[in-house]
Structure formats: structure tokens, C-alpha cells
Subunit: 331 residues, 2 copies
């Protein structure tokens, strides 16, 4: 086994976020599920876009956001994901390259267009996401370079990829390749509704020992374990994965590994502007610490710092110097 070329290789949906502030009433009028992620077809996407106020476009995608955070923290990263050969595809590729991430998946020609996520941000900073998967759902298994997968210490995957059929098959292949090369697999559960759809798959992956580091939020923990009570759910899931990290919004986060449980408080934030990417960036901070061999407490602290940065502005990619923020936290 040669030395890894990358710290983290992520495979994820390649999405541009279309974000707009909105009043709480609009969420109801549009029949949206507040705080959740819904998959929408092109027609519904147009309907929602028409109802949306002036928007800004910022590259997103859960695993890609995490990778942007990892890269900002100094880790060597590569991304695999499917865009179309269009303007939003160029935007996505530009933004991920611009933060120093290797990304060589060829754009897909023809319809559908690059994925976009219509995000309604209510005055409390909560985001309600509506994803048109577009080209992203056609990530083919042969886009997965097994050598590339073997060349990264950690393979990072998002649960969202289980929705579309081709990427789901590709992910299973990727996990096998990572495991065969003796690498770690990190997995984020993404969304409670995704777990409703694919919980059996996720539980099977966990049971098979395919997941080394599992990220969830409290709703996803409940959805996966069927336990309403946080501590009960945590106690049920923790023994099944080497490292379990669960975020609890404003109540911080907890990590359990080898029977040890550590809690961390949320970092103070001046104003919560937009919570899009909070979980993604928590994962980035934690994983950056983990890859470098930090203890659970420090990994959690790094996660909390990265999450606090991301919720203080629009968009799910870091704008401030994450390295400096982490440094300051540990001074």
C-alpha cells in the first residue's frame, strides 16, 4: 500500500445552489417541508423558481461543500461528480477548482442540465431545499477511477447519492474499492427523508462494517434508529461504527468512538444568516482533525468553528479563512 496522494476524495452531487431569502408564509403556501430537502422535477423546479424572489447562485452540493472546507483547512482533496456541459456546470467546476480541489469528471453533454438546488431561507436562517438533480443523477460507475479512490486516505460519501440509481450503484463500487485499498470510508446521512427512502441500505452498509466514520444530525439519528430519544438512539448506533458524529444544531454536537463520548457546545455566532451547509462544514472541520490524528474533543471543536463560519453568511462554502479561525479557537 503506497502513501495516499489525497487526504480525502469525495463523491457527491454536483449542484449549484440558487438561494433567496423568503418569509415563513411562502414555505407554507408552496407546500414545502421546512428545513428538509425535497427532490423536484424540472416542472416543479420552474414553478418554485417562479415563486422565488431575487436569488444568488453559489456552488453547493453536500460532499462538495465538505471538501471545500477540508481544502480551506489545508487538506489535499479530489472530487468526483457529474455536471452538464452548460453554464452552471462551468460555475460548479470553476468554484471547486478555485479552492484547490482536483475535479476531472467529464461534463455530460445534452439534457438534462447541471443540478440546482432552490433554497428558500427564512428569517431565522433555516433553509428549505428543493433539488433538481439534472445531470448529477447520471454519474456513471465508470467515472469512478479506482486508482484515484485507492489514492485517498478517506473516501467521503453523501447519503443524497442514494436517491438516483446510477450514482447509488457507483457508490457501492467506490466503497468496495476503498476497502480493498485499506482506506477509510466516511459517510453522511444527509437528510431524514433520504433515510426514509434508503434506510435499509444505510443500515446494511453499517452492519457490513463498510462505514468507518458516520455523520448525522439529530433528526437523521432518530430516522435511522427509530428512537425518538437522542441518548437512546446514540447508544444504539454508536457500537456499530468506529466513529459516530451527531450534530444538534444550536446545542452543539457529540462524537462517540471506542466507547468514549465527547460533547461540544456550538460556537457563538453574531447572527445566523443562513444555515445551509452547517452540517457539511461541521463534517469538514471534524474530518480535518481526524485525518491529522487529533482527539475527539479537538475534532469536534474544529467542526464547530467551521459550522459557525458557514451559518454567518449566505452560501455553503467558506468565505473567511477557516485555518485562521481554527487557529484562533485553539490559541
Amino acid at each position: 500500500m503506497s502513501a495516499p496522494r489525497y487526504d480525502v476524495l469525495a463523491i457527491g452531487n454536483a449542484i449549484v445552489d440558487v438561494m433567496s431569502p423568503c418569509e415563513d408564509e411562502l414555505i407554507e403556501e408552496l407546500g414545502l417541508s421546512r428545513g428538509g430537502m425535497m427532490l423536484v422535477d424540472m416542472e416543479r423546479a420552474h414553478e418554485l423558481y417562479d415563486a422565488m424572489g431575487p436569488a444568488r447562485e453559489i456552488s453547493g452540493g453536500s460532499a462538495a461543500n465538505t471538501l471545500a472546507g477540508l481544502s480551506a483547512l489545508g487538506l489535499q482533496c479530489a472530487f468526483i461528480g457529474q455536471v452538464a456541459d452548460d453554464q452552471l456546470g462551468e460555475v460548479f467546476a470553476h468554484d471547486i477548482h478555485a479552492v484547490g480541489i482536483d475535479f476531472d469528471t467529464l461534463p455530460r453533454t445534452g439534457a438534462p442540465s447541471t443540478a440546482r438546488c432552490l433554497i428558500f431561507v427564512t428569517p431565522d436562517g433555516q433553509r428549505t431545499m428543493n433539488t433538481f438533480l439534472g445531470a448529477s443523477q447520471f454519474l456513471p460507475a465508470d467515472a469512478l477511477d479506482e486508482e484515484l479512490i485507492a489514492s485517498a486516505s478517506v473516501l467521503f460519501l453523501e447519503g443524497y447519492l442514494w436517491d438516483p440509481e446510477e450514482p447509488r450503484a457507483a457508490m457501492k463500487k467506490a466503497i468496495a474499492a476503498a476497502k480493498a485499498a485499506g482506506r477509510k470510508v466516511a459517510f453522511t446521512l444527509s437528510d431524514a427523508f433520504v433515510i426514509e427512502r434508503h434506510g435499509d441500505d444505510f443500515r446494511a452498509l453499517i452492519a457490513a462494517g463498510d462505514i468507518d466514520i458516520l455523520f448525522a444530525n439529530k433528526m437523521e439519528l432518530a430516522a435511522l434508529t427509530g428512537e425518538e430519544d437522542f441518548d437512546t438512539g446514540l447508544a444504539q448506533l454508536a457500537p456499530k461504527v468506529p466513529v459516530l458524529v451527531v450534530t444538534r444544531s444550536e446545542h452543539g454536537a457529540v462524537a462517540v468512538s471506542g466507547g468514549e463520548r465527547v460533547d461540544v457546545a456550538a460556537e457563538p455566532v453574531g447572527e445566523v444568516v443562513d444555515t445551509t451547509g452547517a452540517g457539511d462544514l461541521f463534517a469538514a472541520g471534524f474530518l480535518a482533525g481526524h485525518v491529522r490524528g487529533a482527539n475527539l474533543k479537538d475534532c469536534l471543536a474544529m467542526g464547530a468553528v467551521a459550522a459557525a463560519e458557514i451559518i454567518s453568511h449566505y452560501g455553503a462554502r467558506p468565505e473567511e479563512d477557516l485555518k485562521a479561525l481554527v487557529q484562533k479557537r485553539f490559541d
Copy 2:
């Protein structure tokens, strides 16, 4: 002459801004002219985009920004401008419709793509703009509905439109239509470099009495008059136009009309994040007051409030409730 249907009809470049923060050094490395607007071809646009950090896309265009401000202040507005039949064209159309502006210019099929402006924002909030005009330069004279022009109290034009040939011809036609209908023409000089290229045209328009309300900043005033000294330039230009408005960045603005000169200080701003659109929104505030018959002092105050809002965040379209901000200023 029937009652006007619109308060303001603007004709402008239909542009999506691609904005990214950058260090001062990058401006020098790329050979850019700090604070100015350069026209770039597709090749140079790609070169600059490659050198740019992660960006966000927000609808822009000088006259379109002014119109967004006017609409936010409650005026009835319509826009004419040329986008391509592509994703950025959809973004532009969505954002302008979403603020209640009528915009019916048909997208242009085929190359080139919708215009974009690559904006590098230095830590002091100064913006350096590089515009790829794309489809915008092909606004045909027959896109100008003369009835529509006659139906608006004020025709608002940007000097930037003088760069591409077709829109320049279209503008002259639009001015004639507005004048024939007894409407006012407001004109913004846009940029000192544009004046270097088209100053003779602008001076001819002024001499012909075609411009009723002229907006400039201090650099543009100097470029148009050839006078380095602000007051000398102002004294030279003011008698030639019914209303002259000159902005002076952090030193506020001045308006001269019928021999009366009024100065206004800049509104205090917490942090100057991005000055893109400061002049556009000053024009919006001033014009909103003017259309409603406010005196010069109040028009200037409204301009200052709108400009202060826009420089406190990324992007050149208002995010806060401009009406409420103006109300607060006058309480």
C-alpha cells in the same frame, strides 16, 4: 399625451455579475485598472475567470440595478435589454421579474451567451469590473417598442450602451421617441473610460438638450469636462443640463438644478463590503424622489440611503427593504 403607464423605463446591458473577493495584489498581477470597467472578449474573460477565486453569481447591469432600486421604492418600471437563450439569461430574467419589473425583450438564440461581468472585490470594498458583453451587445433597434417608451415618464439610459454598436443606434432612436412623446431622459455616464471612448457623443447629446437628468461620479465629471477641479467641472457642466447629479464616493453627492446647488453627506455604513452598484442605487434613490416631485435635498438623501444599503453587502441589487430605510431616514 395620455397618462404614463410606467414611472421609469430603462434600457441597459443585461448582465449577470460574477463576483469574488480578492487581494490587492491580484488586481496588479492581472493588469487590471482598479475601480474601472474594462470590456473583455471571451478569451480574456476565461483567463480572468480562471484566476478568480470561488464566486457567486448575482444579476447586475447598471441600469437594471437602478431599476431594481426604483421598483423596491414602489415605482412602476419596465426594462429592455438583451439576454441569450441560456441559463444566465434565465437567471437575469428571473431576478428582474422577481422584483416586479416588466421585462419582455425576447432572448436571443445562438452564440454569444448572456453577458457577464467578472468583478474582483478588494478588501476595501472597491470593485474592478471586466465585462464580456455577449448577447447584450446585440440589442436590436427593433426591440425598442416606441409605444412602451412613450408610456414611461422617464427613459433611463446607461453610458455603457454606447460601447456596442447596435445598442448605441437603438439608444438614439429611443431618445428621439421619448422626446417626441414629451418624456424626460435620464442618463448615467457609467465610467470614465467609456467617456474616453464616447465623450464626443455624450457632449453632443447634452448640447442638443436630449438629456434632462444627468448622473455622473467625480471621475466621470472630470473626464467629460476636462476639468481636474471638481467645482470648476461642476460649474462648467451644470448650466447645460436641467438636473445634474454628481456622486463623490465617501464624500457624499451634489445636485445642481436651475442654478441651485445642494450637497449631501454620505450615509454612515457599518462596513463597506462591496461598492458594486453604489452609483446605480444612488441614481435609483434620487430618481425615485425626483419622479415624485421631491426637492433636490430630499432626492439626494434618498440616493444616499439607497447607496448605503447596496455597499453594505455583496451584489448590486437591494436586499433590505429600501422603502423602510428611506422612511426611517425621513422620520
